[in-house]
Amino acid sequence: MKPRFSLDLARPSRRHWLGYLLLAPAVLLIGLIIIYPLIVSVDISFQNVNIARLDQPRRPFTTANYERLFASGDFWNASWVTLKLIVIVSLFCFVIGLATALLVNNKFKGRTFARLLVALPWAMPEVIAVVIFAWMFDSSFGLMNWVFIKLGFIDTTINWFSSPAAAFAVVCITMIWKGYPFVSIMMLAGLQSIPEDFYNAARVDGANAWQRLVNITIPSLMPVLGVTLVLVMLWVFRDFSIIYVMTGGGPLKATQSLSIMTYEQAFGFFKMGYASAIGVVTLIICVIASRLMIGRAPDNI
C-alpha cells in the first residue's frame, strides 16, 4: 500500500500529541496576554520610561526606579494600607463566610433561597456595589448616618469620606461585603464533603457542638481553607475598582493600596517605569505569600 500522509493520533505512541494540540491555544493566549506583558513590565521597570511605547528605542539600564521606590514614603504607606486591608478583610470574610456557610448547611425550610441570598453579593458587579455603598455612606443623604443617629451611636452626621479612618472603614466594609460570599461558597462545598459519620462518631464520643466545630469541622476544612485564604488575599491585594470608585485612594492616601498607587503613577503621572517597579514588587510579594500558604496545605490532607 502506498504510504500517504495522515496524522493518526489514535496510535499509542502519539496519544500525548492530542493533549498538546488541545493545550496549544490556551498556552498561546496566556503567553500573549500574561507572560509577554509581564516581561515587558519587568523590562520597563529597569528603564527611565515615562510613556511606554513599543516602537521607542530602549533606554539605558538603571535601578533608579527601585531606589526611588524603597526610599519613598508613599510606597511604604501603600504597603501598610494594603497589609491592613488584607488582614482585616480576610479575617472578617472568613468569620462571616464560615458562619453563613454553617448556617445554610443546616436543613431548614427555604434553605435554597437562603443560599442564594448568601451568594448574592458575589454576583453583583463591583462598581454597582460600590456606588450603592457610597450612597449608603453619603454624609448628607446616607442611610448609615440616619441609622447610627437613630440608634444613638452618634449625635451628628459623620462625613465618611473626608476622615481617613472612616474612609478606610467604609472601604473595608464594602470589600468584606463583596468578598465573604466567595469564602462562604467554598466553605459550603468543603462542609458537604465531610462524612456525616464523623459527626455521628463524635456525638457518640460525647463531643458537644462547639467541640465538634473545633475538632472536626475546622480541621476537615483546612485544605479548602488554605486555598480560599490565598485566593481572598490575592483578590484584596490586586483589587482596584472598589477603592478607586469609592475613594480614589484618598483622603490623604489613607486608602491608597499598592494597586491604586501603581495605577496613579502609570496613568495619573505617566511614570510607567516607576509604576512597573511597583507592579514587579507587588508580584514578588504575592508569589512569596501564596507559596508560603499553599506550600503548607498538602500535608494536611
Binding site: 459519620d197 455521628n200 462518631a201 456525638r203 460525647g206 463531643a207 458537644n208 480541621p219 494536611n300
Partner: protein, 371 residues
Amino acid sequence: MAGIHIERVTKSYGQLAVLKDFSLEVKDGEFVVFVGPSGCGKSTMLKILAGLEEASSGSIRIGGRDVTDLAPGDRDIAMVFQNYALYPHLTVRKNMGFGLKMRGTDSTEIDRRVTDAAKILGVEHLLDRRPKALSGGQRQRVALGRAIVREPQAFLMDEPLSNLDAKLRVHTRAEISALHKRLGVTTIYVTHDQIEAMTMADRIVIMRDGIIQQIADPDTMFRKPANLFVAGFIGSPGMNFLRATVTSNGANPAVRLFGHEVPLQASQSLAGRDVVVGLRPEHIVAGPGPVTFEVTPRLVESLGSEKYIYVDVPSENRAEVARSGGDERRTDTIIARLINPDERIADGRITLSFDPARLHLFDATTQASIE
C-alpha cells in the same frame, strides 16, 4: 457492662414505618446480631440505640437507666461505623483517645488506656501514624480500639466488616468474637451477612420490613426457622422450597414430591392444606435413601470438597416464594449440596435421596412454620 432493654420501639418517617414494635431484652455480656436484607430497619434500630436518631415511640434502658431521651454522649456506649469514621487529621493515638479527651479525662489516663487497647489489638506500632497511612484491616482495628478505650457499657457495631475483602473479613470476624469473649461487654452487631450472624452471635434477631421475624440462637435459627423468610435467609445456599398439597392416605398425611408419595410426621389435621415444603441443600444426599429419586441435573458446580447439583423441579412442586435480598433463586430448580460425592454422574443422571424427617413445613398462605 449492662443489659439492654428495648421496649416497643417504633420509628416512622411520615407515612413510612421503618420499625414496627421492636422489643428485645439483651442480657449483660451478650453478643446479639441484627440481621436482615437492606431496608429492614436494623441500622435504624442501632442508630436509635446510639441516640443518633429519635424513636417515634417506645423506650430504651441500658443497665437499668432510661436513656430514651439522652444525648448519644450520655448513654455510655461506643459505636463502630461501617466506614470507621476515623478523623484523617488526627494520629491513631489521638483518634483512639478522642472520646476520652471530649470527656475531659486526664491525659496520662488517656495515654495508659490507649496503649492498653493498642496492645490488645496489636496496633501499638501504628499509634503515631495517620489513618491515611493504614490498610483497611488496620483502620478497622483502630476503629475497634477507639470503641474499647472508652470502656463503655455496650458496643454498637454497624456492619464493621463490610469494607474488608473476603479473606480479611473471615479473619476479623474471629478476632471480634475473641475480643468479645475477652472483654465480655454487651455487643449489638448489625450486618446483612447471615454467615457473620451465624458465626458470631449468641442470639440472632432477624428482621424484615421493620418487623422482627425470629429471635433465637444460631442453631435454633437453622434447625427451626419460624417462617419461610427466616428459612430462606439463613443457610448458604438457601433452603429449597417445594409446593405441595397434603393428602391423607391411611394413617399418615403425605405430600407428593418428585412423583413420590412422601409420608409426613405431622398431624392428620393438615390434610387438604397447601403447604410449602422446605428442604436444605445439605440434607439431600447422593445414593439411595428413605426417599430416592433419579434426576438429570441442569447444572453441576464443583467446589472441590463439595458439589452443587441444580435439579429441575416438576411443575406441580414449583413454589412462588419471594426471596429476600440478593438471593435471587429460580423457583423451578432446587440445589443439592453433596459433600465429597463419590457418586459418578452416569449418562447425565444421578440418584439422590432425602430423609422425610428433615423436611420443614410452612403454611403456603401465612408462610409460618408448621410444627
